[in-house]
Symmetry: C2
Subunit: 675 residues, 2 copies
């Protein structure tokens, strides 16, 4: 059945993989860096721009704050990277912030972290893809009208690549990330040399003036501080994704923790160098960018149809000699590619975090299963769908989306650093060795600084962004938190109800079995059901029919006698022409009479081969069976009769799967193993 | 479960009815007339208009053909009514044209009639509702933009009323039909008196001229004949629905045939008087109506925004003194109402014809079941959906829809009259009584004339309408015909496969039963399944688990031993993390070893109460069971464990149903009856 679907699935995601192949998907550092670090590295493509966009709300006057803000972001990044190196060493199992917070601050706090991270993974996909599309449009302005479509296509491609599994996606993603790093470093060095030689690059927007937004012109005191803090909040997007490595520790080759810590350090250094470089060049080349092109003065054409290029595009054009130079196209291509691939960080992080949460029974257990290719398929699909909806709803606009962003990241940062402080406190309590104590003290100091700093930033982000869209992210996280607790409660209740309390008592078979064979007409399936029911040697055997049409019932009784069937045929009337209720009622009546018996209901069924054939037969058997399952003390037995068309339908699926899985031992028959 | 749905259903369609109440829904003649005759009677509201619309294609010159065409339609109607009185007497079972044609011309020809009638029932709904909406717009021109919405609302209301059952719909529909008959008769008499007194009514369009359509101006010879024949074809819409009474004979009170024949005669006379009257008044008052208002000359305003009133509206305004007179509003209201209700003829005819076809296994048997209110609910819903789609697709435009119409009616007329001729031939063969022979000869003559005349009309309709839209109706009927034959073939094949050939051989129980209990974890449902499997005393009992996660499997084995369960636990590996394939493979391997045994697979399941709880549990049991049903020689037993939430879910449905069914004996427990 469904062999076309099966073939399509194989084409998109590849052959199924055996569970033992899981170890082969472990990552060396040179692949782990691009997979886990493409998000923080690529954010240099928009972090600078978001700082400038906020500052130019007040005209060009406030641009001199840029270096201070950039400096604060760099310091913050150093603190966070150092803090997370501690996490990677202390918790190599890959739970990351969630595990740290759960273990040290209690499961409810851990869930806050988890909910925040899930929301932020979605935002990472949305913002990165939207920004990637922006940079493509900077290079090819004619595509400006296909913004949303392009974004959705990229999300779909990312989902497909990730459904194929971690290792392949690592390979596909390594090259662009390295090209981007190389390109930006070359650009920064070239620009600096030109500046040193007195030939400073000049951006295309350097000559434009900026009319301040009336609300933000001539700010003083607190208002000015707020504007600067807003710019800082926007710049903090550079820090997203740092925790991805701490969640991904188990995917590293051994020694996992050390490799992860090294990768974290390399990533942090690269991010800082690239961010500082791009920001410096933006200031040197005098990039003037605004949220609304109509606030630019000195434009030659109509401002409504003027598309401002991204900051990194303007810098590249200025450094490499215009928007037709090879260097410009190279930077744009690499930036766009790395941004789209940065979303891949989330496509690694979201499904594995969901899987961990599902394992802890906070999310449906389907999210814990690995798919055919050993990836967490359900998590990947969920992420793609939600991110796609966001991109569609926000028309793939980076500046709108960015307001919903980073809140979750900093919640996770703060709580996990707080948790780490507790962790070290506990470690110190029983530790006599002074050398070890000294190391623990240092680590605790690092994490304490991290907690205070990131907590401060969280407050700043919350106050400056809440009304601009961050409320939606807060709401989403809150809803997730409540839902996850409800799911856990449901699983706990169920498990408690199902737990074995008295194995021997529960294994005692019921005293008697009362078998009832449901009969509608006398055909082969009915006779087979009667024969099978006989074979189970019940203590009492009856046939039961529901009389809807008196003529049919009379005919049934006549043939029953004609065939000489020695099973009593009970007839229940159904004045409302229903089948289910009279049968359930009869079964309940039997149970009331002898509550310690079990009732075995035999349902003769015939199985057809094509889905449309089901439309031609009443599906009352399915409905009846599902209602009987709600009745205590019954077991419901389907006795199938396979019509010839069903044999035809049963084979193709196996054949299709087998033909794709050539070169491997056939999965059927399995090898039975006795205990 | 679903108690809200249940309550809503009760609100819309009323309390459920017992099968014995069916006889109460038999109809006296005074209710049968409006139910079955509203279609042919109401068609006077558009038959005249459609004749005029075709003739004015050639300007005002051809309007003098109108009396001749109307005369031909009247003669045809007399022939058809007389012919169908024979059918009603000869075939009182209500099969109507379908039964006559099947019995006398073979099942394939019968199916042609059935397919044609089904298509025409749909068209009756579409045309009548569209014309009713037209007449409402004639009275209240402001509603012109809501045409399609109004049409769809009327179709939905008709479906709801019919789902409540035949008797109620008869009552609801009797008054408007009688008001319409009375109103039109008063209008005709008033108009004639005014004409006789020399004060002839003048229509609002009497002064307008008509520019001929260039293609149809100054026609001569064959072209003129074709135009007149087209007008005649359109006028034949007056004959639709005549066969409804012959299909509805079983719904009449006894003596069924005589009552039906009388009703048919009354209906025919009324239809002829009303049609002749309206047509005469339209000619007297000089109604000038065109398919395109811009071909009218002498209009004061812009022709594009001018809405022409229907013919019956113009006549009513002329007779009763303008479009603000009480008489005008009364006629419009009654016309609109009776037209919408005329669609009800189809809502009676379509479901009962489908039910007969389903009984003959030409349509899915769901169409044969009576719903809660003893109406054929599925047929009613199918008709409403298809008619709604047509109205939506054709923007509720009467003239577009009418081209698809009457083809089916005349196919049915012709074939059933041919069938009647054969019927009388057969009757005559063995009949010695000369008086009876003479009556049969007369009857055969009537039906032969009917067959020839309606066959001729069928040819005319086919040639004049095929390219204008009738091809779609022909295609739809052809597709239906092929589908119905395929469905019958499927049912026949299935029945042959399932037919009992050797009752004693098939009742011999299989030699041995091999029971397999599927185990995922060790919880109460598993223990219960083991206990129940024990109670069926199988010849061999095994537990089977699929190993996806080695740790979980080890834990399962450990607890299996700890509890001292003396059933062997088999473990099959599943390298691809699938459950279904290894289990099916194992069962097949067992069957291969001992093909004469049966395998009883026990599936422990737990039942949850809310649909969303199912999302939190893997539904692999359902899928697994449905795959096992395709495996020969197995029976699949579900052993349910009811979680506490399921008990809560099982009760409300019964309670809700019970509360609606107050005043009747509760349907549960049913009264068992031993044979």
């Amino acid at each position: 059945m469904l062999n076309v679907t099966e073939i399509l699935k194989r084409l998109v995601i590849g052959r199924a993989m055996r569970s033992e192949e899981l170890t082969e998907t472990l990552l060396p550092k040179r692949l782990a860096l691009p997979i886990f670090a493409s998000d923080p590295l690529s954010s240099v493509a928009y972090a600078t721009q978001e700082i400038l966009l906020v500052l130019t709300l007040g005209g060009l006057a406030y641009l001199h704050f840029t270096p201070w803000i950039a400096g604060a972001v760099v310091a913050l990044m150093a603190v966070v990277v150092l803090s997370y190196r501690q996490v990677v060493h202390a918790y190599p199992s890959g739970g990351g912030s969630f595990e740290v917070a759960s273990t040290n601050l209690g499961p409810s706090t851990g869930l806050v972290v988890a909910a925040s991270l899930l929301v932020d993974y979605v935002m990472t996909v949305a913002v990165s893809v939207a920004s990637g599309v922006d940079n493509i449009i900077s290079a090819i302005p004619g595509l400006a009208h296909e913004r949303v479509l392009m974004a959705l296509v990229f999300v779909a491609l990312l989902a497909a690549v990730n459904l194929r599994g971690v290792r392949e996606s690592g390979r596909a993603f390594a090259a662009p990330t390295y090209l981007f790093i190389g390109g930006v470093l070359v650009m920064v060095v070239t620009g600096m040399i030109r500046y040193a030689l007195g030939d400073a690059p000049v951006a295309e927007s350097a000559a434009y003036g900026v009319t301040p937004d009336p609300a933000d012109a001539h700010l003083t005191g607190l208002a000015l501080v707020m504007l600067v803090l807003r710019a800082f909040s926007s710049g903090c997007t550079a820090l997203t994704g740092v925790e991805a490595i701490s969640n991904g520790v188990p995917a590293f080759r051994k020694p996992k923790s050390r490799n992860a810590a090294t990768t974290l350090a390399v990533m942090g250094s690269l991010a800082i160098v690239m961010f500082v470089g791009v920001t410096t060049l933006a200031l040197i080349s005098k990039v003037h960018i605004t949220d609304d092109a109509c606030r630019l003065t000195g434009l030659s054409g109509d401002c409504a149809s003027y598309t401002q290029r991204t900051v990194i595009a303007q810098v590249a054009a200025a450094v490499f000699g215009g928007e037709h130079s090879f260097g410009f196209y190279f930077i744009q291509a690499a930036t766009a590619l790395v941004l789209v691939l940065a979303a891949n960080t989330a496509f690694n992080g979201f499904p594995s975090l969901s899987s961990i949460l599902a394992q802890h029974r906070y999310l449906p257990r389907q999210l814990h299963n690995r798919g055919d290719r050993l990836a967490f398929s359900n998590g990947i699909l969920a992420l793609a769908i939600v991110a796609g909806l966001l991109l569609w709803g926000y028309k793939a606009n980076v500046t709108s989306l960015i307001h919903l962003y980073i809140l979750g990241v900093f919640t996770a940062f703060t709580l996990s650093q707080l948790g780490m402080v507790r962790h070290w406190n506990r470690e110190l309590r029983g530790e006599p060795d002074t050398a070890v104590r000294r190391r623990h003290h240092t680590a605790r100091m690092i994490n304490a600084v991290g907690a205070v700093v990131t907590g401060l930033v969280l407050l700043i982000v919350l106050t400056t962004k809440f009304t601009q869209g961050a409320w939606l992210a807060v709401l989403a996280a809150a809803v997730l938190w409540v839902t996850m607790r409800a799911i856990r409660r449901h699983y706990d209740t169920t498990a408690a109800e199902l737990a074995v309390t008295d194995p021997h008592g529960e294994l005692v078979p019921p005293s008697r079995v009362f078998a009832i064979v449901l009969v509608s007409t006398l055909h082969k399936p009915t006779l087979r059901a009667l024969a099978y029911a006989h074979a189970t040697r019940p203590d009492r055997l009856e046939a039961l029919t529901v009389s809807v049409d008196p003529d049919e019932t009379t005919e049934l009784r006549r043939r029953w006698e004609e065939y000489g069937i020695d099973v009593p045929l009970k007839i229940v009337d159904s004045p409302y022409r229903e089948i289910t209720k009279p049968v359930v009622g009869y079964v309940r009546a039997v149970r009331r009479e002898s509550p310690r018996d079990i009732v075995a209901v035999f349902v003769p069924e015939y199985v057809v081969g094509h889905w449309w054939e089901n439309l031609l037969h009443n599906q009352s058997a399915l409905w009846l069976k599902s209602r009987l399952l709600f009745t205590p003390g019954v077991m419901v037995t389907s006795v199938p009769w396979q019509l010839s068309s069903s044999a035809h339908a049963d084979r193709p699926a196996a054949r299709a799967a087998g033909s794709v899985r050539r070169g491997e031992p056939p999965p059927v028959p399995p090898r039975p193993r006795s205990r």
